[in-house]
Structure formats: C-alpha cells, structure tokens
C-alpha cells in the first residue's frame, strides 16, 4: 500500500471524528506549546540582556565572589577585597584602572523638596561609593555632565533610573540631600547622569566618591582597611584582557587578603564581560530547560492520550479492519494505516503546539518588552518529538489492529 494512500485514508478517519481527534491532539498541543513558550521567553530575556553587549568587546573585568550551594551558584556579598588588594591589582601589567563598588546605606534622599524613602534591602537606597574611573567602564555611558572629581565629597553622579524616579526633573547642577543611616546627612551636587542600565533591573542609584565609604575589616596582615564586595578592573587594551584576567586570578589564588578572608565554600572569580554573558546564558538556559522539562511531562500525558484513543479506535474499527483484510490488506498495510494515523495526530499536534507556543510567547515577550526569539532548535525538536510520540503511541494499537482475525471481525454484528 502506498504511503500517500494511507495518508488519505487515515486523514479521512481523523476528520471523521473531529471532536475526538481535537481532544486527542490537545495534549500534544499543550505540551509542545508550553515548551515553546518557555523557550521563547527564555530566549527573549537572554537576547534582551545580551543585546546590550552584543558586538562590543569589552576591556572590563569584574572580580566577584561566588558561592557553591545545593541550589547552584550564587554571588556572595562578603567584603573581602581590601584596599591592599586593589593596589596590588592596580600594579599588574596592562591594568588601566581599578574601581570598587562600596555600598552605602541611605535611608532617605531629597531633591527640590521632594523626599523619597528607600525601599530596598534594609529600607535603604542604593548608593555606591567608587572612584571616577568607574565611569570609564564600557558598560557605563555618561549621557549628561561628567564624573565627579576624585575626593570630592559633595559631588555625585546619578543614573537614568534615578532621573526617572523624579519624572525626569533632575539635571546637572541640581542638589540632592542624602540622609545616611549611620552618619550625618550630606548634600551633593549632581555632576553627571550615567546610563548604567544593563537590562537586568538596575534600581535608581547615586554614585558618590569613595571617601564616603567607611566599612573596614581586619586584614590578615593585622591592619584595619576598607574592603569591598566587588571590584571592576579595566585593561589597557582588548589584546591584554585575557592576560590581565589570568594575572588577576593568579593574584587572588596566591597571597591575597581576599583569599584569606573568603569563606571556605566561596570562590573568587575574575570574569570578562564574555565570561559573564556566558554564565548568564547558562543560568537562563538551565531555567528554561527546567521549565521545559516540566512542560515535557504534559507531552507524556499527551502521548498516553493518543495511545488510549488509538486502542479504543482499534476495538471500534475491528469490523473495518476485517473488511480491509478481506479485500486484500496485509498486516503491514493495517499497521501502516494506524501508524500513519497516530503520526498525523502527533505531527499536527506538534505543529499546532509550535504555533500556539510562538503566539503565546510573542504576547509574553511584548508585555515584558523583550525582543522576539525563535527557538529554531526547539521547534525542530518539538516536531520530531511529535512524530516520535505518534510512532510510540501508535505502535501497540497498530500491532493489535494487524492481529485482528478477519473471520472474527466480520462475524461481529
């Protein structure tokens, strides 16, 4: 029997039971649809963030502390990078500058009489103390004004989200009063506005000079020094990035304060922007695969649905099978007919699932404001899975159909 013929006949019996066929494929549609939705959302999120860096090679290297736990990798905020470490890194060949991020606790801030109370961790605002070099980083873009002067306690750079907080009513030269939690409040003049939006939800932020930062730790050498949880290092040129990264890593693996201060389960990592993107991609991929895997369970349910319906269908069509055998159908013809039918159900379900998934994913992405991503690989996998599910769930029913005894089948009333 020609394949095209079995498609024609199987299609006829599928459309002959429209409601049943629809309900049968619904399981596959939902399963594959859900997988595709997660892949579209994950892809869009990833693109949104990575899009910021794309095409731009960066000379930045960040030094972070990661923690291995049962729940995967996390970033620790321990203040282990001392001023001594900073100086040592500054002397490494090829390093242009080193800038720390020291977080300050500001409970309230006022600008032109409008006071805003912080709502972040510990009900504080995100104010970071750093040095003006920080604004030379590739990821930072001064959109107005210029960095504050080194050592100037009464100057600050605010980010664009801060400007948004005041409905755009902030410009260079304005004064902002910072109400620190544990020291007298300070009025600073805005010298510049920076775009530091890397996509992943940067809060309104004020950058001030490192002089404001007073948190100190006891170093292993017995000194009392200021320490930070994060360092940003810039190499002099792109060619030097990899070497500088290796040297920084080498320094921290050697005799550094940070190595002595870090916890046992913590790791100090020097990351280039590329490393960071890669790591981020891995995390998003893992989440997407996890969610996709959960969605995949409904695929299994869907395939059981197809198998179930096909078995019922074989019983119901026993007489038809008998007729076909009487007019010359061989076992393989019958197997072919039933397999083609379940493959059609699986493949059509997969195709509709992909369309549904892309549609819902597109809506989700539009709401989130991310770019659309077409998970081509997953679409191909979905279609393959649909056909596979069809074969798998149709095999046993088809085998049963082929074994129908035409004499018995035709005797049935």
């Amino acid at each position: 029997m020609k394949i095209a013929e079995s498609f024609r006949i199987s299609w006829r019996s599928i459309t002959g039971h429209k409601l049943r066929s629809t309900l049968t494929t619904l399981g596959i549609i939902l399963g594959i649809g859900a997988v595709i939705v997660f892949m579209v959302l994950g892809g869009g999120f990833e693109k949104d963030i990575i899009g910021e860096f794309e095409g731009e090679e960066s000379t930045s290297i960040q030094v972070i502390t990661t923690t291995e736990s049962n729940f995967g990798q996390g970033t620790a905020q321990n203040k282990i990078y001392t001023e001594h470490d900073m100086e040592a890194i500054g002397e490494i060949d090829g390093v242009d500058w080193v800038a720390p991020d020291g977080s300050l606790q500001v409970v309230q801030l006022s600008h032109q009489g409008k006071t805003v109370t912080g709502g972040g961790a510990g009900s504080t605002f995100s104010v970071t103390a750093t040095n003006p070099d920080r604004f030379r980083a590739d990821l930072f873009e001064m959109t107005a004004g210029e960095p504050f002067e080194k050592g100037a306690m009464d100057q600050a750079v605010v980010n664009e989200n801060f400007v948004k907080l005041y409905d755009g009513d902030v410009s260079v030269g304005d004064e902002v009063e910072l109400d620190f939690r544990n020291k007298p409040s300070q009025t600073v003049t805005v010298t510049g506005i920076v775009n530091d939006d890397t996509g992943n939800g940067i809060p309104p932020r004020v950058h001030v000079d490192l002089q404001h930062y007073e948190t100190t730790v006891q170093t292993p050498r017995g000194a009392e020094e200021r320490a930070f949880s994060y360092l940003l290092v810039n190499a002099e040129s792109l060619d030097q990035v990899d070497q500088v990264k290796k040297d920084i890593q080498g320094y921290f693996d050697g005799d550094s304060d940070a190595r002595a201060l870090k916890g046992d389960e913590q790791t100090i990592e020097a990351q280039t922007t590329e490393d960071a993107i890669e790591q981020f991609q891995q995390i998003v991929d893992q989440i997407a695969i996890l969610l996709g895997g959960i969605a995949g369970i409904s695929l299994i349910v869907g395939s059981i649905g197809i198998a179930n319906i096909m078995i019922v269908s074989v019983t119901e069509r026993t007489r038809e099978i008998g007729i076909m055998k009487a007019v010359g159908a061989r076992k393989r013809d019958i197997i072919q007919l039933f397999l083609v039918e379940s493959i059609i159900l699986g493949a059509v379900g997969a195709a509709l699932g992909v369309i549904t998934g892309l549609g819902i994913g597109y809506i989700g992405i539009s709401v989130a404001g991310w770019p659309m991503a077409y998970p081509t690989t997953w679409i191909l996998i979905a279609v393959a899975v649909g056909i596979f599910v069809g074969v798998l769930s149709g095999s046993y029913p088809a085998y049963r159909a082929a074994r129908v005894d035409p004499i018995e089948a035709l005797r049935r009333e």
Partner: protein, 253 residues
C-alpha cells in the same frame, strides 16, 4: 442428479480448468470438544461455474467459504485457488491472493462507512498498489454496471440496502477476481431487492464469472448451476439445478 460419492469427487480434483479445488480438506475447531467444521471435503469449482452451498447452521458453510476466501487454512488436505496452495502461502501472500483473485460479497454489505461508493469499490485496488485516474474510471464503469452510475460520491449511509449491496458487488469485481464469494447476499434485503441482486448474479454468471454462494434459502440457491448440501462438515449431496427460476418474476419468501 446426486454426485456425493467420494470417488467421483476425487475425479473432479483432477479437472484442469477448476478455479478452486478442495482435496481431503479437514478443519477442526476445539471449543471444549473437537468440532469437525469440515471433514474430508473434496470438491472443485470449475471456471465459470455458479455453485450454491446450503446446509443447517454449524454444517461448515462458513468454514468452507473462509477456506476459499483464504481467510482460513485447512488442518489437513489442500485448498488451491487458481493453482496456488493456500495453506502453503505466507500470511502476506494470502492477503495478496485475496485481493487479486477473490471478491467478497457479504450479508452485512461490509462497506467502509466513511468512504464514498467509488472509494469503496476501488479499495481492493489500493491494497494492490494500483494508483491514478484509472481507479476512478474503473469505479465508474463498475458502478454503472450495477446500476449506480449516478451514486459515485455517495457514502454508504446515504444509500439503501440494495444499493449498498450493489456497491459491494462492484467492489467484488474490481480486481477481476477468479472467484466471487457471496455469503447470504440477499439475507439482509427484502424479497424484491433480493431478486434484483440475484438478477445481477445471473448477469455475472452469464459473463463468465465463477461464483460460490452460501445461502439457506432454497429459491436463492436455485439460481446456481448446482447446490452443495453440507451436513456436519461433510458433503451430503451435490444437486444439479436443471432449471433456474425466472429472475424477474416475483418469488414467495
């Protein structure tokens, strides 16, 4: 004239122009105790012959029919259809033989309800891998021959009982079979429709088709050349019909 003697049947086996030959066919079912559905049956269906099989229920009529139809195989003895030993064939080859050499006509019509009349007629061609427009033409010719030239695209539920049986007859003819097997072809039809169908059988017979028909109605059986009477799996009598009833006339049920 009765020819029930085994010696005579043995002679028949030697006929060279016989389309179907049974020689010493034995078929036993074990339903608690052995039931001899066919017991040492030998017979032959010469080409162009019209044979009716009569007998009480359980006499082996259906088994005989299934044997000729390659749906069943003998426990002992041989059945040959068009020279091929049915029992020696593989399952797939038997199916092929069924599709090419045999045409079935059932009491229940047994059409596929979702296919049109034309598609039902050409279904056996599908399994013989005949493709293309020739199929549609073939269906058209055959349906016209059974008087349904204007019902090509009707599905069985849209047709009357007699019309369905005509579609089934057209289907039985589609691959130009060596033997047409009819199992109570008028059993589900009223007398008038039944006699119309028998008229069609008479035409097929006149055109040279070999027909084997199972029936329990005497007046239906009389359309054949001869009537085989089966009792308890054995041929009790082979009766030669000298005068066929008029096909057009009304028959008392």
């Amino acid at each position: 004239m009765s020819q029930a003697e085994p010696t005579h049947r043995k002679n028949k086996v030697g006929d060279t122009d016989a389309t179907v030959r049974f020689s010493g066919v034995q078929r036993t079912y074990y339903l608690g105790e052995p039931v001899h559905a066919l017991d040492e049956v030998s017979l032959s269906l010469p080409e162009g012959s019209f044979t009716a099989v009569m007998g009480p229920s359980g006499s082996g009529k259906s088994t005989l029919m299934n044997m000729v139809g390659c749906l069943d195989t003998p426990d002992d003895g041989t059945v040959t259809v068009n020279g091929q030993d049915v029992g020696a064939l593989s399952d797939g080859k038997r199916a092929r033989l069924r599709g090419s050499e045999l045409g079935f006509i059932f009491q229940q019509f047994n059409l596929l309800p979702r296919l049109t009349a034309a598609e039902n007629v050409t279904l056996p061609m599908v399994f013989q891998n005949v493709v293309g427009e020739s199929r549609r033409d073939r269906a058209k010719t055959l349906l016209a021959r059974v008087g349904l030239g204007d019902r090509l695209d009707h599905t069985p539920p849209e047709l009357s009982g007699g019309q369905r049986q005509r579609v089934a007859i057209a289907r039985a003819l589609v691959n130009e079979p060596s033997v047409i097997l009819a199992d109570e072809p008028t059993g589900n039809l009223d007398t008038e429709t039944g006699s119309e169908i028998m008229e069609l059988f008479a035409e097929l017979h006149d055109d040279g088709s070999t027909i084997l028909m199972v029936t329990h109605e005497r007046h239906i059986a009389e359309h054949a050349d001869r009537i085989i009477h089966l009792v308890d799996g054995q041929i009790e009598e082979i009766e030669h019909v000298t005068e066929n009833p008029p096909v057009q006339g009304s028959e008392t049920a």
